[in-house]
């Protein structure tokens, strides 16, 4: 039995002994071999490593999107994967914000509506109705601040990659989560655009004091981060 590393008091999220294996036909492929990772409140952590190292798999487990084969994800002290489905969904809704490489906006909704989506999901009909105006103003305000003043009513298909990612960032931040998980948010953008998007993300992280777990290949960027975690073949090195 390996010793479980103690969880620091200022830790927001702590992964302990995460093992994740995939069943492919009759073969079992173990992708994560017992990973520990802590992110403190307000901390900016860069997660680096070669392609296929298991970065995405790890953050999906920590982001409560994919159940680990074994191990725990401690969020505010309790094991998130032991919670009932609805509570875990609520944590995804309020405590964590995702930014994906491929933006993942809903094509039928315009920019403002996409940003409002977490509020729509997290609230009942009446609860949302009561605060609809407040929500809308906030969503518009964020998009304006992100330089999308002229794009509020545009559908994702009418936006550039950089603009889409700004909308996605606004969406991730909308309910003031404790943590943002961003998986190669600039991976699909040209370097100039990517840089500006990252700048925006880092500024927001700093202003809001939200934790940010950022998967990136950019060594220059990583240098700005408080901590760099490197992964290799499903292990933190």
């Amino acid at each position: 039995m390996p010793k479980v590393r103690p969880v620091a008091t200022d830790s927001l999220i702590a992964a302990r002994g995460i093992v994740k294996s995939f069943q492919i036909a009759d073969r079992t492929l173990e992708v994560l071999h017992g990973v520990d990772l802590d992110v403190k409140r307000g901390e900016l952590v860069a997660l680096m490593g070669a392609s296929g190292a298991g970065k995405s798999t790890l953050i999906q487990v920590m982001g409560l999107l994919d159940r680990p084969t074994s191990g725990k994800v401690l969020l505010d002290g309790s094991d998130a994967w032991e919670l009932p489905l609805a509570e875990r969904a609520a944590l995804r809704n309020r405590a964590i914000g995702f930014v994906f490489q491929f933006y993942h906006l809903l094509p039928e909704l315009n920019a403002v509506e996409n940003v409002l989506l977490p509020a729509m999901i997290g609230n009942s009909w009446s609860g949302y109705k009561q605060r609809a105006k407040e929500f809308k103003d906030r969503a518009r305000g964020m998009l304006v601040k992100f330089g999308l003043e002229q794009r509020l009513d545009h559908r994702p298909a009418q936006l550039s990659g950089g603009e889409r990612q700004r909308v996605a960032i606004a969406r991730a931040l909308f309910l003031d989560p404790k943590m943002i998980i961003a998986d190669e948010p600039t991976g699909n953008l040209d370097s100039a655009t990517g840089e500006r998007v990252l700048e925006l993300l880092l500024t927001e992280q700093h202003e809001r004091g939200v934790s940010l777990l950022l998967v990136t290949h950019d060594e220059r960027l990583a240098a700005h981060c408080q901590r760099i975690v490197r992964m290799e073949d499903g292990r933190v090195v």
Partner: protein, 454 residues
């Protein structure tokens, strides 16, 4: 709250949903429209089945009471007793007997010859009805049957208020003949016109000796009637009651009394029960079972009509099932198409049941729009079928609905609000059941599998 918002947005954004809406709409609309028109036709048929009858029939058959008494010879006491009831709108006495219509100009000897060799044909078994015209008018549909436009030729009576008046231009050779009214099919078969003379042969059985005594008499046709019911139009001959009584010569003045009620639907069974006890006690009707409603008379046919309607409804319900199936197909397509969205929604905090709800709601909107639109169109279609058909017939120059064939000059449609409700509700239940399957699958999608879908 996203379920309502997104389901509605997907509804509007995805044109394929229109197919589901239209499918359900057409199904529900057609079901309502056809059922309403069917009901209209069946009700008209029912009315024609009732036509020659009235609401309640009191038979005063020659059969004796159990204690050997007999009913009075005259219908007056029974009519009086019946009319005294405030729920009764009218009553009439009828004398009915069987007879044979033998070729014009023949005699009973000829009829006997005909009977001996059925291959020779030219003999019609008929029902002779002796009636009091004004009483009859108040009680049965005879007046309407006399006034109705005939299908075959036009030999209607000259004066509705006095149908037994000798036909105009009738010049009797000898003693003037009594008039009779003949069903139009019988008249057509025998090529009878106003003023034609017919021989009617009948036979009476002597109660004591058991011997059969044939007798015959000539009558003149005063006109034809069209009740719309085959049996009546093919077999019935009306005579004045006194005339028939005289012809039969038994002293019997009536064989049944027909009663029309002010509100049959409301009072029918009550009056039947009351009459069964009072009239038998007063010795006016031999036995309680001789007090019958017209529905008792027509039970088997009415049962068949009801069956027909139920069968029709079942078959048409399949249309709605097919429509609901399009909802199933559309939703299945949409779940596949929207895999990525489903993943995004779970990442943002939606639960599996929530996603299921989202897709069920899409099915719900489809059904709501389809069923409501279909119900409105179906009801409008049923109500305005007649002018619509006229317009269409006029435009394409082909008569779709031949008004002459039916008893009614318009296409009848009866819209029953209860059925409309049941049909709409049924469409909802079926469509939502079908929607549940793809929606449930959507809710079980793994968020990451859905997200990886690039």
């Amino acid at each position: 709250m996203y379920k309502y918002f997104l389901s509605w947005r997907y509804m509007r954004a995805r044109r394929t949903n229109l197919i589901g809406v239209v499918g359900i709409g057409v199904g529900v609309g057609a079901l309502i429209m056809i059922l309403s028109i069917m009901t209209g036709f069946l009700e008209e048929t029912k009315k024609s089945l009732r036509g020659g009858l009235s609401d309640i029939i009191l038979e005063t058959d020659q059969r004796m009471f159990r204690d050997g008494r007999r009913v009075p010879h005259s219908p007056a006491p029974l009519l009086e007793a019946v009319r005294a009831d405030p729920r009764v709108a009218g009553a009439c006495a009828q004398l009915s007997w069987f007879g044979m219509l033998t070729q014009g100009g023949s005699r009973s000897a000829y009829a006997t010859e005909q009977l001996a060799d059925p291959q020779k044909g030219n003999l019609s078994g008929v029902r002779l009805f002796g009636i009091d015209v004004q009483d009859e008018y108040q009680t049965t549909e005879l007046r309407a049957a006399l006034a109705r436009t005939p299908l075959l030729g036009d030999e209607r009576v000259a004066d509705l208020d006095d149908p037994f008046a000798p036909p105009e231009g009738y010049v009797p050779d000898g003693r003037p003949l009594a008039s009779c009214l003949v069903g139009e099919q019988l008249a057509s078969e025998w090529r009878l016109r106003r003023g034609s003379e017919i021989w009617i042969t009948t036979a009476l059985i002597d109660a004591k000796s058991g011997e059969v005594h044939p007798s015959d008499r000539r009558f003149v046709v005063a006109g034809t009637f069209r009740s719309g019911e085959n049996e009546m139009d093919l077999q019935r001959i009306y005579l004045a009651r006194a005339e028939l009584s005289d012809f039969l010569g038994t002293g019997r003045e009536y064989s049944q009394v027909l009663v029309r009620l002010k509100d049959y639907e409301r009072d029918g069974t009550d009056v039947q029960l009351d009459f069964q006890s009072t009239l038998t006690q007063q010795g006016l009707v031999p036995r309680p079972e001789f007090v019958r409603t017209w529905e008792d008379y027509r039970r088997p046919l009415l049962g068949a009509i009801e069956n027909e309607r139920v069968l029709m409804a079942i078959m048409l319900s399949l249309v709605v099932v097919v429509a609901a199936f399009t909802v199933f197909a559309i939703l299945s397509m949409m779940v596949t198409e929207k895999r990525r969205d489903i993943g995004i929604l779970s990442a943002l905090g939606a639960t599996g049941p929530g996603i299921t709800g989202l897709f069920v709601l899409i099915g719900f909107w489809d059904t709501l729009l389809g069923a409501t639109g279909g119900a409105i169109l179906g009801v409008l279609g049923a109500v305005y079928i007649d002018p619509f058909e006229r317009g269409l017939s006029h435009t394409i120059g082909v008569e779709i609905f031949n008004r002459k064939v039916y008893l009614f000059d318009h296409i009848p449609a009866i819209v029953n609000p209860v059925w409309v409700g049941v049909i709409v509700l049924g469409a909802f239940v079926i469509a939502l059941l079908f929607a549940l399957v793809p929606a449930w699958k959507a809710g079980r999608l793994h968020p990451l599998d859905a997200l990886r879908y690039e």
